[in-house]
């Protein structure tokens, strides 16, 4: 694919459309899923199965007045929700949905995604700091320590995978997992690694994704029973809407990355339909698990969250890294 | 039995130890005359009275003067009583306010003790017991809200249940909304 202007525009528009559509309809999926778990119907009035709910909600949010609290830092206050949505959309550019469907493949794709993911944490800090609200402030302080604590094990685990595949190119990582289901990085029986600890890497990575995207049980930033709504306490209208959509867009990115790194990307266990559909299927199964987890568990505490990261996840992932390095040296 | 022990301890507060006449506890009045008598009884003297639990729901009823209050409450504190509540009663006819302290016990040696003290209605001041029972804090503030009784030495005697600027005392009998 040549890098022409048209190509770039199409790719960016497609990425934005995909992200926005996902974000909107994941809200619907979350509400329906939560409702099913709690044995109620969920949104079912607007359109079939309530499918018109997200656009209507969007219209409602857009129709609302955007209030900026007195004494708030205006520029930062407005920048924060944009910062929440923008990195997630940018990350889509480099994610390969199949061996042909990718906006722009890069040989350092992972690096780019992580670079953008770190910006997500900044939006929370911006929002909390600029709101001039004590709850929001406390939330942003939490967000910083949470982001620091969970990026470390996440990166270490990613390095483990990168070491096995020997590439930071997302396409290459997926290609190496082709063959059968046993070639996937999560089940390292066949393929180029025999690392039996990989399922644990997957668990660590998945937990970190939960924490990175601020999802329950790690949603300390917006712990509604303590900090009212956390960093977006003062946001209304589409400012809040962007935060909300950004959260779901981040989930999609996180799940895409998990799929690529551990679940074999678009590789299909047994033909049937084209690879891209397998990718989508794996992606939504992971997202479903996110929703399922959110509606099952209570929230952790901030020190519980940090303990989990520093005392359990980081030592385990470091050990895993060393173990993998040893394996690679021996074989 | 804790009841007897507490009774003795409380009685030691009253040096005269005048054995009070077995007070005609307000049982069901049979005649009109008795009812009238119950309505205007002779002012009760300070002292400890044992009450029928089945009728009144408590065992000991001690009336003390305000300056004996802290001593009486300390006795209960040492005997491991817990504070149930503090409240007031407005005896407008006698121009007095009564502060009523309820105490009870956590163990199975049940003994409910009521300590009451009568104050002048025009200048109701009583020492605070927050130094002994920290939990008396809110109860005293509530009583101050409702009756205007001043608890001397209370650390934070501002309206609790009533609005912050309340200067009325709704449970006084002459309060008109």
């Amino acid at each position: 694919m040549r890098l022409t202007l048209i190509n770039v525009v199409i790719a960016v528009v497609a990425a934005i459309a995909f992200a926005a559509l996902n974000a909107a309809y994941l809200v619907w999926a979350e509400r329906r899923g939560a409702a099913r778990i709690q044995r109620r119907p969920g949104p079912n009035i607007n359109g079939p199965f309530g499918l018109l709910q997200p656009p209507l909600d969007g219209i409602k949010l857009m129709a609302k007045q955007l209030t900026i609290p007195g004494g708030a830092d205006k520029a930062m206050f407005i920048a924060a929700p944009i910062l929440a949505m923008f990195p997630a959309i940018m990350s889509f550019v480099t994610i390969p949905f199949s061996d042909t469907i990718v906006a722009k493949n890069m040989n350092v794709g992972i690096l780019m995604i992580f670079a953008f993911a770190s910006m997500g944490g900044m939006s929370l800090v911006f929002a909390g700091w600029s709101s001039r609200n004590k709850y929001a402030m406390m939330s942003s302080v939490r967000a910083v320590s949470q982001a620091v604590a969970y990026e470390i094990p996440m990166l270490i685990t990613t390095i483990t995978v990168v070491m096995i595949t020997g590439s930071m190119d997302l396409m290459e990582i997926v290609r190496q997992q082709s063959g059968s289901i046993l070639h996937w990085n999560i089940f390292p029986v066949l393929g180029n690694s025999h690392n039996l600890l990989m399922p644990f890497s997957f668990l660590i990575f998945f937990t970190c994704t939960l924490a990175e995207t601020n999802r329950a049980p790690f949603d300390l930033g917006e712990a509604e029973s303590e900090l009212v709504a956390g960093f977006h306490t003062e946001y209304g209208s589409m400012g809040f809407g962007l935060f909300f959509m950004g959260e779901y867009a981040n989930i999609v990115v996180g799940s895409c990355l998990t799929t690529i790194l551990f679940l074999g990307g678009w590789n299909c266990p047994f033909g049937l339909f084209p690879g891209v559909w397998w990718f989508i299927l794996k992606l939504y199964l992971l997202i479903g698990t996110f929703i399922w987890i959110r509606w099952t568990f209570p929230r952790t505490t901030i020190y519980g969250l940090l303990n989990l990261s520093w005392k359990i996840l980081i030592p385990l992932s470091l050990f895993n890294l060393l173990f993998t390095a040893g394996l690679l040296k021996v074989f | 039995m804790i009841c007897d022990k507490t009774k003795q301890a409380l009685q030691s507060l009253f040096p005269k130890a005048t054995p009070e006449p077995a007070e005609s506890s307000p049982a069901i009045p049979s005649s009109e005359a008795q009812e009238k008598k119950a309505k205007a009884p002779a002012p009760r003297q300070d002292g400890v009275v044992e009450r029928d639990y089945a009728v009144h729901g408590y065992h000991l009823d001690a009336q003390v003067s305000p300056d004996q209050l802290l001593e009486a409450v300390s006795i209960l504190d040492e005997a491991a009583f817990f504070i149930e509540s503090i409240t007031g009663v407005d005896w407008i006819k006698e121009n007095q306010l009564e502060v009523v302290y309820d105490f009870s016990r956590y163990d199975f040696d049940t003994c409910r003790v009521v300590i009451r003290t009568r104050l002048d209605r025009n200048n109701p001041v009583v020492p605070t017991i927050t130094g002994i029972y920290a939990g008396a804090n809110w109860h005293e503030r509530e009583t101050h809200d409702f009756f205007g009784i001043k608890f001397e030495g209370h650390p934070h005697l501002i309206p609790l249940l009533l609005p912050e600027d309340a200067d009325f005392h709704p449970l006084l009998k002459d309060f008109k909304a």
Binding site: S225, P298, T300 | H56, F82, V89, Y133, G135, L161
Partner: protein, 372 residues
């Protein structure tokens, strides 16, 4: 576990939790002096929905005040009405038929289960888990349906009368209650697996907010707050009233003194209440629900009377001072959460805000009951 870093006074800030805050379950305000996430000092401000029930008690006749009691605590209303009718019956010497007392006990226990279920759901929601609330409400709904069929209302019952009951229970109710008991036991198992065993849940409560028995005594705490601190105190046992001596039930006591102990006490109490309901239904005698002889106008003789009962929230007491008239001379309502909540100021010092709010949830607050 987490020792607070002591800062200079000018380095702290004031955080207003409430009067509208998701964790306070009503209009309660806690003025917290914070040092980062740590609470240096807290002052609870109550009285936002104070309604002066005690004055209403003085202004209304005895029967007219009946319905006020159920407005005090909208979750476990029957226990409060029970106390009120008991004290007036005691004062005026009304003898209650046995059947009425049994039905009262069954109703109060069902109401206690309903109240504990709601607390369970709300408590887990305080901790961020939303689904258990919905499951708890489903079970609670069965109880409310049963109570509605008998009393005519779902929350603010006005069911007990001096001497007996408003109306009798029917076979439908008994059948429904019998169906409910095994269903509730099954649900309790579900809650145990879903919530009690959950590692996140346990980590949030274990060792949090230790309350010493001494502190409970100084503040007059009761219910699960006292029983979670190793105090074996339940008015149903310590000062038996109504027909409770006839029932075989245990008082769960935990000695850990932490939030988890308070949680465990309430969960065990649901099981014990189920046992009481079961036995009550088995032993339910026939007969009238109102006494044959009852004074037309209730005028207790002069004197003062006290009655305590164990409601869902703890030891509730009514002090009735009568001057022999149609209206009470003074009616003091001693509400249990008033004392339990009072603990909060002292106990939450040095805690992190999330622990403090979990602790607040474990106190089982119903604000109208504190404010009266």
């Amino acid at each position: 576990m987490n020792a607070p870093i002591l800062l200079q006074p000018d380095e702290t800030f004031i955080l207003n939790v409430g009067p509208q805050h998701p964790a306070t379950h009503g209009v309660l305000r806690v003025k917290m002096e914070m040092s980062g996430e740590y609470i240096v000092n807290a002052e609870t401000v109550i009285g936002y929905i104070h309604r002066m029930h005690e004055k209403m008690g003085e202004l209304k006749t005895y029967p007219q005040f009946l319905m006020n009691l159920s407005r005090m605590d909208y979750l476990g209303a029957l226990g409060y009405s029970h106390c009120h009718v008991l004290v007036v019956e005691k004062a005026s010497g009304i003898v209650v038929p046995e059947r009425a007392e049994y039905i009262r006990a069954i109703m109060v226990e069902l109401n206690r289960i309903a109240s504990h279920l709601f607390w369970f759901g709300a408590f887990v929601m305080d901790l961020g888990g939303f689904s258990p609330l919905m499951y708890a409400l489903q079970d609670r709904e069965h109880i409310l349906d049963m109570l509605e069929a008998v009393t005519g209302s779902r929350l603010t019952y006005c069911y007990f009368r001096f001497g007996g009951l408003y109306n009798d229970i029917d076979d439908d109710f008994i059948a429904a209650a019998r169906r409910f008991i095994p269903r509730m036991r099954k649900s309790l198992k579900k809650y145990k697996a879903l919530v009690t065993g959950n590692i996140i849940f346990r980590k949030r409560l274990e060792g949090i907010a230790p309350l010493t028995p001494e502190m409970c005594r100084k503040y007059g705490a009761s219910s699960a707050v006292a029983r979670g601190s190793g105090i074996n105190f339940d008015v149903r046992r310590n000062e038996p009233y109504s027909v409770y001596p006839e029932f075989d039930f245990d008082i769960p006591v935990y000695h850990e003194c932490d939030s988890l102990a308070r949680y465990m006490v309430r969960m065990d109490e649901i099981e014990q209440s189920l046992r009481i309901v079961e036995q009550g239904l088995d032993k339910l005698p026939g007969g009238p629900i109102m006494p044959d002889k009852k004074p037309k106008i209730i005028k207790p003789p002069a004197g003062d009377y006290y009655q305590a009962v164990e409601t869902a929230r703890g030891s509730f007491g009514v002090r009735l001072v009568s001057d022999g008239g149609k209206n009470p001379y003074r009616l003091k309502l001693r509400s249990p959460t008033y004392s339990n909540m009072h603990l909060f100021d002292e106990a939450c010092r040095g805690m992190m805000i999330m622990d403090a709010l979990a602790f607040m949830g474990s106190l089982d607050l119903v604000i109208p009951e504190i404010d009266r």
